[in-house]
């Protein structure tokens, strides 16, 4: 057991979770107090001792499923193999040929689908689990020895089960139960209920696939292919759809934390001038001797922010997250104005005003802002010169200008003089580039050309770096 634990802790560290020595000792100690055959209890014992942040729970869960997938009575893979192997174990030759016969299986495809449908409709978890196992062995077509994480197997299984149709069928059944008199609300609730059952089925299938993969490839190899970056380390430029969703979830608590931290910093940072009135008032308790001088709270000038963001395809996600973050802490600034461009430029401040929902506003930018001038390929030069013409006058010595983008200009003229002009008027000019430092200046990237006129150019590839920058800005 200790070996498994050591391997598990090693895997967590590989995945980026900070697990200290004391924590792994605690985990070892905790194992004495939970029944090892109880998988849930084991999971919570390890979770409580090893994982100290909810953002890391997902990574922990994945690793746990891999390392402890074969514990617990219902997961006894040997017994099951014995039961089923007669029917369908040679998947090598069957998997490719597809789902024609099922190799002398007792159930046909239709029967399997029917049983699954009934089990889901009645909410019978045990049967659903058994069906999930059946479905995996039949449809996934797993090939031993391939270094994969199982996503494709999952896709194959789900495609064959056709969950969407299943959902519609079950809804149909639920509807007919109430003689077709279902209010919109009831229908909605029924749908959510069935959806959650389907989610459970999906999870069963995932578990089953993972279990088989572990049996096939061994824990460590599989853990390596399943490893995913933590939300704060996801690269903006290359995030998949799931990762973007994870980012969106992560940005909410982040903005809240940031706002609290900045407000505190502002209050406690420096001491203001002597507050004579308050000092005298407090001196009364020491007989009129001003022992404890009181100071006014400082009122530091709040910077004005101009955000100029490239929202063309490759860097759109980055621009969105940065805008989100800047607006979430906009109370720290006296004014925030935002401009987006591709080859045309448009002011989008109006989308944020009067809306308390930043996400919604960012969404509206994507659909409503007028940012295309000629062909919809980034043209920094044109966008910047238009900006200077129309809004340049409004930059004052209190303004900080943020430029977001990869400065890939498609070999158009750079018009870098605009930046130099902006630099003369504004307090600070910063450039945030979502590309890795080593790519800067390669190909059509001209960030170097602009960079000379900026106070500083930052590499800003993930939430961690973005958060750091915004903290320093405010």
């Amino acid at each position: 057991m200790l070996d498994v634990l050591t391997g598990f802790v090693g895997e967590l560290r590989q995945a980026g979770l900070p697990v200290s020595l004391t924590e792994s000792l605690d985990a070892a100690e905790a194992l004495h107090h939970v029944p090892l055959e109880d998988r849930e209890a084991l999971k919570y014992a390890l979770g409580a001792t090893l994982v100290k942040s909810s953002a890391h729970w997902k990574a922990f869960e994945t690793a746990f499923e891999v390392y402890f997938s074969m514990r617990g009575p219902q997961f006894d893979i040997e017994a099951e193999e014995g039961r089923e192997s007669s029917g369908e174990r040679p998947p090598g030759d069957e998997g490719g040929a597809g789902r024609g016969g099922g190799g002398g299986q007792a159930l046909s495809d239709e029967e399997l689908a029917e049983m699954l449908y009934r089990a889901l409709l009645s909410g019978n978890d045990a049967t659903v689990a058994a069906m999930a196992r059946q479905a995996v062995s039949r449809y996934a077509g797993m090939e031993p020895g391939r270094p994969v994480g199982g996503t494709y197997y999952l896709y194959r299984t789900l495609r064959n089960l056709d969950l969407d149709r299943l959902l519609e069928r079950m809804l149909e059944a639920a509807r007919s139960e109430t003689d077709g008199h279902m209010t919109a609300l009831e229908e909605r609730l029924a749908r959510d209920e069935l959806q959650s059952r389907l989610d459970r089925l999906r999870k069963e299938i995932e578990d089953e696939i993972r279990r088989r993969l572990v049996a096939d490839r061994g824990t460590e190899a599989l853990a390596r292919s399943l490893r995913k970056p933590l939300p704060e380390d996801i690269d903006f430029m290359h995030a998949t759809r799931d990762e973007l969703a994870a980012l969106r979830r992560a940005i909410h608590p982040l903005t809240r934390k940031l706002a609290v931290r900045l407000a505190r910093k502002r209050r406690h940072g420096r001491k203001g001038p002597l507050d004579f009135r308050s000092t005298m008032r407090h001196s009364l308790s020491t007989g009129g001797v001003p022992v404890d001088p009181k100071f006014r709270y400082p009122r530091p000038a709040r910077p004005e922010i101009f955000v100029i963001a490239d929202v063309s395809g490759s860097v759109a996600a980055f621009a969105r997250f940065t805008l989100h973050l800047v607006y979430a802490i906009s109370s720290q600034f006296s004014k925030v104005r935002s401009f987006v461009f591709i080859d045309g430029i448009d002011e989008v401040t109006r989308f944020f005003e009067g809306s308390d929902d930043v996400g919604e506003a960012v969404h509206r930018i994507n659909t409503e802002a007028d940012v295309v001038w000629v062909d919809g390929h980034s043209d920094y030069g044109h966008a910047l010169s238009v900006f200077w013409e129309r809004w340049g006058e409004e930059i004052t010595s209190r303004t900080s200008v943020l430029l977001l983008g990869d400065a890939r200009n498609n070999y158009h003229a750079s018009q870098a003089w605009v930046l130099s002009e902006i630099g003369h008027r504004a307090r600070h000019v910063y450039w945030l580039n979502p590309e890795p430092l080593s790519y800067w200046g390669s190909g059509d990237s001209i960030v170097g050309e602009y960079g000379v006129y900026c106070d500083e150019v930052f590499e800003c590839r993930n939430l961690r770096q973005l958060e750091q920058f915004v903290t320093e800005l405010a």
């Binding site: 004391t22 100690e29 107090h33 609730l189 959510d192």
Partner: protein, 323 residues
């Protein structure tokens, strides 16, 4: 102060003392008796906290029963609940202990009066002896004001210590807690070290408004309280609002779950679910339809944009709308 070593347990951990709970199912049972429905994870962590003599750091969205958990554990173990509410600017004298200097002053003055009356008008110069007496006297337990942390350590009866909203104190102040949390002792320079007779169960709650320090996290077990599952929420509603019918409780739980799948600014918390259930009971609602739901949604949701979105979703006519 010479550190006397803790009596090590079988594995080099401080001895947690006799078990408060025999097993995980027993934790659940006894918490349920006090009206707190724990799931497997919660009960497991509480059990571990008792056995490992470790504090529990409870995090999660507001209104999922973090503080309630500590209270329920106190009730279940028939312990006194000592609560330290954290806030910005909390310091040693509010959290650990403080010398009652007014009483100390009185004591010194009383001494002087005694000396003056006994020695007449002569200048009462404190001799070395009497100085020692007074010093020993005024820095004794009698003049010590115990604040929650010290009180929990000194208590002879069973206690549960709740350190509420620990994320509100500054990072530097967190260090105050560390000695108490890992060694269960408080060092007072003038008195020596006060050590716990019986290690108390400690719960820290955090709303996650800032990242807690590694040092603090390392010393704690971590429990993330998320919104409950449908079944558990239904049971909670039934337990806490006894007047509710089974059917209504089920509907309430299901609607709340549907709401939590939407993209809202603030999801309805368990306490808001309970408020809503009570509202419906008071209004005499037997089963909810969309209209009633819309009319009472403001109990559940506290943002205008959320209300609008939820109302739209709940009465959405088109059934094709997938999520």
């Amino acid at each position: 102060m010479a550190e006397e070593s803790q009596p090590p347990g079988p594995l080099g951990f401080p001895d947690p003392g006799p078990a408060r709970f025999a097993s995980v199912p027993e934790v659940r049972e006894r918490l349920a008796e006090t009206g707190y429905l724990a799931d497997e994870g919660i009960a497991g962590v509480v059990h571990l906290a008792d056995r490992l003599a470790k504090p529990v750091l409870v995090e999660g969205p507001a209104g999922t029963g973090k503080t309630e958990l500590a209270k329920a554990v106190a009730r279940a173990t028939a312990s006194r609940l000592i609560r330290l509410q954290c806030y910005e600017g909390l310091d040693e004298s509010k959290a650990l202990y403080e010398w009652n200097y007014k009483k100390q002053l009185l004591r010194i003055q009383a001494q002087r009066v005694v000396e003056e009356t006994s020695e007449g008008v002569s200048e009462a110069k404190p001799t070395a002896d009497s100085w020692h007496d007074i010093e020993g006297d005024i820095f004794s337990e009698e003049f010590l004001l115990a604040r929650p942390l010290l009180e929990a350590i000194r208590a002879s009866d069973p206690v549960v210590l709740l350190i509420d909203e620990v994320d509100r104190v500054e990072l530097e102040t967190e260090a105050l807690l560390l000695e108490v949390l890992s060694e269960y002792q408080v060092s007072i320079p003038e008195l020596g070290t006060v050590r716990a007779n019986r290690i108390p169960l400690v719960f820290l709650t955090s709303n996650n408004t800032r990242e807690l320090s590694e040092a603090l996290k390392r010393r704690c077990l971590y429990l993330y309280l998320d919104y409950p599952t449908l079944e558990r929420e239904r049971e909670i509603v039934k337990t806490r609002v006894p007047a509710i019918t089974d059917e209504l409780a089920d509907q309430v739980a299901r609607i709340v779950r549907s709401l939590r799948t939407l993209e809202l600014k603030k999801y309805p918390s368990v306490s808001e679910t309970l408020d809503w259930a009570r509202t419906l009971v008071v209004l005499g609602v037997e089963s909810i339809d969309a209209e009633q739901a819309k009319a009472t949604l403001h109990v559940l949701l506290k943002y205008r944009s959320d209300l609008e979105r939820a109302a739209k979703e709940l009465s959405a006519e088109d059934t094709q709308k997938g999520r």
